[in-house]
């Protein structure tokens, strides 16, 4: 198998495009794909301050690297979930990446900020770990972006993530979730713009990029990922993809092009207005947002069990640790609230 550009021996095959590339031209191809997605959907402007959500895994690390190479002004946001050694090693990989490239990093440690880790939050609320974890990450990400004056949050969601979520939503006809699959979610009052620049690249392609660029990343999986439905959907899609290259891309892209707009129109009557959460002031459809509700719930139980002193009230404001250029200890301080910095 030969490189489609130079004819040298190929290292990575992109079967859905019927092509293969040598290492050098693969890296070029990959970065070009990301650049094209960004331009096509107007995800980012050159002058934007971009907050990159970085878990330390291959997707977010590859995303940060590509955005940096494309010349965007990026800051990483890493959330310490408190999932034992897994979380510690995630922070190590993230810090190493930031430090080697002198990129600014913000860390929010959930235990430090909110007194509980994600496993504790799940246990106290008796909810699935991934569900309270996803909710918390989304809230913190948005709040840091809004309060620190970032123009946009970029996440490492890839084609497999998006196609498997779509498959899950279709299998259960989750219409409310189906209309929110766009690679770009525009900003609203106190809701930062969100973009997914890797949404048309597969996990395999992203892993190949990470390996060829020799990026430090955490290969180990979160212990709570095992048995997740998303893995089952991904496996099913990968079987289809192997037999019919291009299936994942067509499934997602054609949905976004043909079906989602129709759904959005048809369901727009049902769209509920957003209001401010009575606890934290951030957008919600009810009186209290799901984030505050969940954490308040956990606090009630934690107090009953004597793990948190009775007089402590849950405060939604995250504590940020700034690590300029990825170096040094960095001091924790609360985000200067409300007004964006610039």
């Amino acid at each position: 198998m030969k490189c489609a550009v130079c004819g040298r021996k190929a290292a990575v095959e992109v079967r859905r495009q019927g092509r293969a590339f040598c290492p050098e031209h693969y890296l070029e191809w990959f970065e070009h794909q990301v650049e094209r997605a960004i331009r096509r959907h107007r995800m980012l402007k050159k002058e934007d301050r971009v907050l990159v959500a970085v878990s330390g895994g291959k997707d977010s690390i590859a995303l940060w690297e590509v955005l940096r190479r494309l010349g965007f002004h990026t800051t990483g946001l890493h959330i310490q979930l408190g999932i034992a050694d897994y979380s510690k090693r995630a922070l190590e990989a993230t810090r190493r990446f930031a430090e080697e490239r002198s990129l600014p990093l913000i860390v929010v440690d959930l235990k430090e900020t909110y007194r509980l880790t994600i496993p504790e939050l799940a246990e106290l609320t008796r909810r699935r770990t991934c569900s309270v974890c996803g909710l918390t990450k989304r809230y913190v990400m948005n709040r840091v972006a809004v309060e620190e004056g970032f123009d946009v949050v970029a996440t490492g969601h890839n084609l497999d993530d998006e196609a498997s979520v779509l498959l899950g939503n279709v299998l259960h006809w989750q219409t409310d979730a189906l209309v929110r699959q766009d690679p770009v979610l525009p900003a609203k009052e106190k809701l930062a713009k969100r973009v997914k620049p890797l949404y048309l690249l597969t996990e395999r392609e992203i892993l190949a990029y990470t390996l060829l660029r020799r990026l430090p990343y955490q290969h180990e999986e979160c212990p709570f990922a095992a048995g997740a439905k998303s893995l089952l959907y991904k496996e099913a899609l990968n079987k289809l993809e192997t037999a019919m290259p291009g299936t994942k891309q067509a499934f997602l892209e054609q949905y976004l092009k043909k079906i989602e707009p129709v759904l959005q129109k048809g369901l727009s009557a049902e769209e509920v207005a957003l209001r401010e959460c009575e606890r934290c002031g951030y957008p919600t459809t009810g009186e209290v947002c799901a984030f505050c509700k969940t954490w308040d719930h956990a606090y009630r139980w934690a107090k009953r069990k004597g793990r948190i002193p009775g007089e402590v009230r849950f405060e939604a404001e995250p504590l940020l640790t700034f690590i300029p250029e990825g170096k040094g200890g960095g001091d924790a301080r609360p985000a200067p609230s409300q007004e964006p910095a610039g």
Binding site: A208, H219, E235
Partner: protein
């Protein structure tokens, strides 16, 4: 050949060579779309042939959970 699986837990297998990467994956029951196969620093395609004294690494690309 020695095959080191990182899917993502580390596991080792011994297979007879030479054969194509595609056949290695078939023999191990691994779906090619979910992995990258490497020989040292070199990434391999399904058509590449690997020798009996090669050491391969099969790295899983699939990650789970809500992100």
């Amino acid at each position: 050949m020695r095959v080191v699986l990182r899917t993502p837990e580390r596991e080792e297998r011994e297979l007879k060579g030479p054969k194509k990467v595609r056949e290695v994956l078939e023999e191990l029951g691994i779906v090619p779309e979910g992995v990258i196969v490497a020989r040292g620093e070199e990434l391999l395609t399904l058509d590449d042939e690997v020798a009996d004294d090669d050491t391969l690494e099969i790295i899983s690309a699939v990650s789970g959970g809500k992100r």
